[in-house]
Assembly symmetry: C2
Homo-oligomer: 421 residues x 2
C-alpha cells in the first residue's frame, strides 16, 4: 500500500515535470489568460464548490472538529469571490520570469545575463483552509511552476472541486492541466513521499504549525522553505513614547491572534516599568488578554506568573508573555534565545537604540515604532503571498512571486574559448 | 567518543555564533583590515606553513596518496603568495552587507527596506587543497559570517598552521578569533555533527565529489548548497559554424579536465554529422581524448563504443561521451535526462535554435557559441568564488560574496498600527 502511494506521488511529480517544461516557455499573456479564466470559472461554478464544501463541513462536524477549524474550512459565495479576486490580482502583477537580475558584457565580449527562471515543480503542504489551494496554484502558475498540492483530508471534497475547475481553466487556454495537481491526503505518508522525491520536486513549502514544519525539514531531501512560526516580541525601550508603545503592543497582540505576525511576548525596559506596567496591564486586560508575567509583572494581581515555557510559546491566542529587562542588550539576548526569527519590534525615540536593535536582532523583519502586524506580503507591496519564510536561505520574510523562482546564467558569444591559465 | 566529538563540534558552533554576533556589527574597514593583515601574515609566516605542509606531504607519501592528490596538497611560497593575493582581492571587493536590495515608503508612510545581512555561521566541508581553507575563511569574513572549516585529514598540519595565522590576524585588528575555526577532521562523524547542528549552523557548503555532496544533502538538517558536480554537454547544432564548434568542443573538454565546468559529453546534430564527425574525432584524438561514442560515432575505429553509464559519467579526465542526435529537441531531452544542471552549451548560427536551447535547458549556466569553461566566478566578474551551485534554491552557478548572505526587512515608522480588516 505504502509503495502504491509512493508510486502515485512520484507519478504525479513526473506529470508535473512535463507540465513544467511547457510552463517554462509560456508567455505572460498565456499565464494571465489562465488566471483570469480560473477566476471566472470559480465564480460561475461556485455552486459545485459550495456543494463539495458542504460535504466537508458535514464530515467535519460529524468528526467533532472545533468551530474555529470549521470556520477556516467554510467557503461562502463571498469567500469564493475573494479567492477569484486574488487570482485577478496575481494576473495584474508583473511576470517575474525573464527578469534580468544582473548582466554585463565581459571584457572578452561575452554577453552575460542572470535571468529569473521558474523553480520547476513546487509542492505545497498545508492545512484546512481550501482558499490556500487556489492561492498557491495561482502564484505557482504565474511564476511558471507546476504545483503539487497536498491539502488537509478535512478539505478533500472542496479541494477536489476547486482543482477540477483550475485544471479545466488551464486546458481552456492551452496550458497543461497537470500544472496543478492535488495529491492524496488521507495518509501522512504522502507528505513523506513528496518531500523525499529528490530530483522530481524542486521545492516544498510547508504551511502549518511548528510540528508539521519541523517534521518536513527533518525528513526532507527536497529543498524546503520553513514558514510561519512566529514567536514575535515587542520591546518597549527606555526612551519609548508610552502612548505609542501601548498602541503598538495592543495592535501587535490583538489585531488577529491566530496569525504568525501576532506578538507573543512583551519586553519592557526597567526604566519605564513603573510608569508603563500599570497602564499596559490595564489596557491588555480590557482587551481580554491573559498576561503571563515575570516576577516584576506578576506583582500585579491581574497577571499570571509565567513559567519557563511561556517564553518559547507561540500562543496564537489572547495570551502574552511579559518581562521587564535591564537593558536593550538583555532584550536583544532574550530575543536571540527565544525568538523564531519572524518579526521583532522596538518602540523607541532613541536613534542609537533603534540602530542597535535593527542591526543585532536576527529576524526576517524588524520594526521600529510599528506594529508587528505589518509583516505581510500584501502590506509589503508584493501583491500576493504564499507564506512567510523564517529561514535565511533563499527567501526571508513574506514570499511573493520572486521567491518562487530561481535564476540561470545565459552567455552569448561568437566562438569564445577560454585561455589556458 | 562519538558524543565527545558531537559536543566538540557543537561547542565550536556556539563559539562561532558568538563571533558571528560581533561580525554582524563589523564595519567594512575592520573586515578589510583583517583580510589585509591575514595576507601579510601569510607571507611573513610562510615558513611555518611550509613546515607543516611538509609533514602532510610526508604522511601522504607514506600513506601512498596518488601524485595528483599530493600535488593538490602541496603548498609552495608562490602558492601561498597566490592565496594571500586572493585575500587582498576580496578586501578590494564591495561589502555585500548593508546593501539595500529593495525599498520603498509604503502608502501608510512606513519606510521599508530589504537589507543584505550575513548568514551567520557557515560550515565548509572540502577535500585536500589547503588553499580552500584561506579562500573560504576570507569570503566568509568579508560577508560577515563565522566559518567552521572541515578540511581533509590529509591536510591537517597545513590547515592548522593556516588557521592559526588567520585567527591571529583577526585578533590583531580586534575581531574575534572564533570567526574562523577548524573542525576535527579524523572522523567522518564530524561532518555528520556539523550538518545536523540545526539552530547552531546556518548554512553548510560541501565541496567535493558527488558522493560527499549526496551524503551531505541526504543527512543534513542544516540548509546546504550542492556544488560542483558537472556532467556538462556541448551540442553542435545543424546550423553550427563547424570551425567554431571544433574550437569550443576542444576548449570545453581539454582546457582543464579536472574541473566541474569541463565538457563530458558531445551531442552532434545528424545534419552535420557526416562533415563534423571525422574532423572532430581527429582533433580530439590529437589532443589524446578517448571518445566513447554511440553507434554512429563508433563506426569510426578511433572511437570506443559507449555504454549506458557513459552518458551519466563525470569523467574529469581526457574522456568524452559522444552521440549524434536527430534534432535540437532530442539534444534538449538528452541533457534533461543526463545533465547535472551545471553548464550546457550550444554552437549554432540559428537565432531560433539558440533561443529555444537557452529557454528549455535547465542549468545554472547556458552558453551560446562559447566554451563551457567560462562558468567561473572570476570570469563572471564576481572577484572570488566559493564554489559553483548546481541547485536552484538560494544560489545557482558561481557563488561569490552575495551568495553567502541572507536579507532582513527593516521598517521604520512613527507609531504605525495596522487596521483591523
Amino acid at each position: 500500500m505504502t509503495d502504491d502511494l509512493r508510486d502515485e506521488v512520484h507519478a504525479a511529480a513526473r506529470r508535473a515535470r512535463v507540465a513544467a517544461n511547457d510552463l517554462v516557455l509560456a508567455t505572460r499573456e498565456r499565464k494571465d489568460a489562465a488566471l483570469l479564466e480560473m477566476a471566472a470559472a470559480l465564480r460561475t461554478r461556485a455552486p459545485e464548490v459550495l456543494d463539495a464544501n458542504a460535504k466537508d463541513i458535514e464530515a467535519g462536524r460529524a468528526a467533532g472538529l472545533a468551530e474555529g477549524l470549521i470556520d477556516r474550512l467554510t467557503l461562502t459565495e463571498a469567500r469564493i469571490g475573494g479567492v477569484a479576486r486574488g487570482l485577478e490580482t496575481v494576473a495584474g502583477l508583473p511576470d517575474p520570469i525573464g527578469e534580468v537580475l544582473r548582466g554585463s558584457t565581459l571584457p572578452n565580449g561575452l554577453e552575460l545575463r542572470q535571468v529569473r527562471v521558474p523553480m520547476g515543480v513546487v509542492g505545497m503542504v498545508y492545512e484546512a483552509r481550501p482558499n490556500v489551494t487556489v492561492d498557491a496554484a495561482g502564484l505557482a502558475l504565474k511564476s511558471g511552476n507546476a504545483a503539487l498540492l497536498r491539502g488537509s483530508s478535512s478539505a478533500e471534497h472542496s479541494n477536489t472541486a476547486l482543482v477540477a475547475i483550475l485544471r479545466d481553466a488551464l486546458e481552456a487556454v492551452g496550458l497543461p492541466a497537470d500544472a496543478v495537481q492535488l495529491l492524496p491526503c488521507h495518509d501522512r505518508a504522502s507528505v513523506t513521499h513528496l518531500i523525499t522525491a529528490r530530483g522530481l520536486v524542486d521545492l516544498v513549502i510547508p504551511r502549518g504549525g511548528a510540528g508539521l514544519i519541523d517534521a518536513v525539514v527533518r525528513q526532507a531531501t527536497v529543498p524546503t522553505i520553513e514558514t510561519g512560526v512566529g514567536n514575535v516580541h515587542v520591546y518597549v525601550d527606555a526612551s519609548a513614547d508610552l502612548d505609542m508603545a501601548q498602541r503598538i503592543v495592543l495592535n501587535s497582540k490583538t489585531r488577529r491572534t491566530s496569525v504568525c505576525n501576532a506578538a507573543e511576548s512583551l519586553l519592557v525596559h526597567e526604566a519605564v516599568a513603573d510608569e508603563f506596567l500599570p497602564r499596559i496591564i490595564t489596557a491588555l486586560r480590557q482587551a481580554d488578554v491573559t498576561i503571563h508575567g515575570d516576577e516584576r509583572f506578576a506583582q500585579d494581581p491581574r497577571v499570571v506568573p509565567a513559567t519557563d515555557e511561556d517564553w518559547d510559546t507561540e500562543y496564537l491566542s489572547l495570551d502574552l508573555a511579559a518581562r521587564v529587562v535591564e537593558s536593550l542588550d538583555q532584550a536583544v539576548e532574550h530575543i536571540a534565545e527565544h525568538g523564531s526569527g519572524h518579526t521583532e519590534a522596538i518602540v523607541t525615540d532613541d536613534v542609537r537604540a533603534a540602530r542597535t536593535f535593527t542591526a543585532r536582532v536576527d529576524a526576517a523583519a524588524v520594526m521600529v515604532n510599528a506594529s508587528t502586524a505589518f509583516t505581510d506580503g500584501a502590506e509589503f507591496g508584493m501583491g500576493a503571498e504564499i507564506g512567510i519564510s523564517t529561514q535565511k536561505l533563499h527567501a526571508r520574510g513574506p514570499m511573493g512571486l520572486a521567491e518562487l523562482t530561481s535564476s540561470k546564467w545565459v552567455a552569448w558569444g561568437e566562438g569564445h574559448v577560454r585561455a589556458t591559465s
